[in-house]
Amino acid sequence: MADPSTLSFKVSPVSPLAPDRRYVARKFYGRFMAGLITVAALVGVSVLWIILGYVIVRGAPAINLDFFTQRPLPYGEVGGGIAPSITGTLLILAVAALIGVPVGLGCGIYLAEYGRGSVVEVIRFCSDLLAGLPSIVVGVFVWAILVRQVVGNFSGIAGAVSLAIIMVPIIVRTVEAVLLLVPYTLREAALALGVPKWRMVISVVLPSARAGIITGLVLSVARAGGETAPLLLTTLGNQFFSWNLLEPIGAIPIQLYNYAVAPYPDWHTKAWGSALVLISVIGILSTAVRVATRRQNR
């Protein structure tokens, strides 16, 4: 191809655009591949709608007032709800955010504003590794430290810490990326006014990257909210309302799992219902983020 002499031989004596048999075959083949590629995209898009469809259709019958206000009933009895799991998930997530957000934010600020040279590389690398860590391994780690040693029993705080560990790398990555997008001129202007660096970061850099940071935070909370594996090892679950972080606390994903694997049809409906609640919460969060970021882009 690269050799001009070969190229010149390929030039058709008639017109290069004249449709010959080879051209038709090539064109047909191109169409065929375009078809395959479209099908691939179609498959990718429809999988989401199929799964969402199932969750909505099978979960909707479970949704009623009891579902949000009652606690689960004994085995085989019809009725009850997932209220302790909802409050439990909210509590665990709030505590996880309380731990994870400052750490993630701080680490992101370090990477964008303070760190230099190879230390930045190392920390960024560690953060990426943490992001790729299987969540079950995080659960094993937190079990070994908090459940076995520090707290001494299955507890809400152990679950919150494992979720925080999952949240941190997501926050770090977004925060670093959006902070680097803040124009340097803003920083210069602030410093030139005699503002110390910490004031510059807090009152100038962070506010101008606000929407992006919030995106990262919400994404991390959404991701942590659906985590199940580490919670199974750390918070255990609870069919009663519990606000004590040093004791086991219920969580929607655990309740969903317990409902799903049990052999009672009513519990299966409740499993789908729990899935619907979980997806709705995540969906609302994601949509909110999308709206917020779009506003910032304009």
Binding site: V103, P134, V137
Partner: protein, 340 residues
Amino acid sequence: MTTRDVENEIASPASWTVQGPPIFARRGGVGADDVFKWLVYITAFAVPAVLVALFILLVIDAWPALERFGLGFVTSSNWDNVKEQFGSLPYIYGTVVTSLLALLIATPVGVGAALFVTEYAPRPLRVPVSFTIELLAAIPSIIFGLWGFFVLTPIMRSTVEPFMKSAVGPLPVIGSLFQGPSVGKDLFTGGVILSIMILPTIVSISREVLLAVPTMQREGMLALGATRWEAIREAIIPYARVGIAGAAILGLARALGETMAVTMVIGNSSRKITGSLLTPGYTMASAIANQFTEADNPLYFSAIVGVAALLLVVSAIVNVAARLMIWQISRGVAKGGTRG
């Protein structure tokens, strides 16, 4: 104020340091600037600290089993609590087989979808299509598991697996992958559910990589009279090859660690390894999920933590490999920010 050293450069905010004691420091012993700086440093170093602590702790807990079985821990396929023999090969095998199967299914579909978005789709369709597929990533693992448990498994058992057995089963070599009763909860179903879960990873990264291919590249090819597919095959794919491989490997990294969805469809059985995909099995992650809280004797516990340590190391290696590959292409394009 005049002591600020700004003449050097403005390229990186990290280099803007204050020369001499900052003004706030002079007033009270430790300046707010220092406090803030140290807070930021502490949080930053918490990240590697957690990682190191995690690794050390797992190795300590896993040590009795690793010491007792040595290399046999990864080469033996006998996992027997009664006889206190722990070889994790069936779990490693289950993880490898399901992940590779997932890649085999998800890579063509994912790259195809990414090509559709970047090369074929009419402009108004581009964002919705890629957004919809990437939304898959937001669905929690447990919900894939729920769907797999109640919807996919019966379909696999009654339709897909009998079909594969009759269509592929009689063939030599590859046929041996589809032997035995159709249970529905087996490595095959595990691979299928994983392929759905890693699809968004592959789509979003291949899309970024494809977008990084210079427009000149494809325009040049089209100008030579190539069809659109030929332009993709000859000009775009070779250019993006490494990045796409990186996308696939990042998908692999996700597949390796997936727990709940796989646990609910893989059959959870430590039986001996067979060649057939229609065998119920375990992945490393699902073995941990099922057995961790119940390992009621010390060696058994140590062995299951050993599986966790192994999973940690493997997923770290795969992650690093993927990032290196993606980093290589984004550097080649001289365009930052293609990371993750």
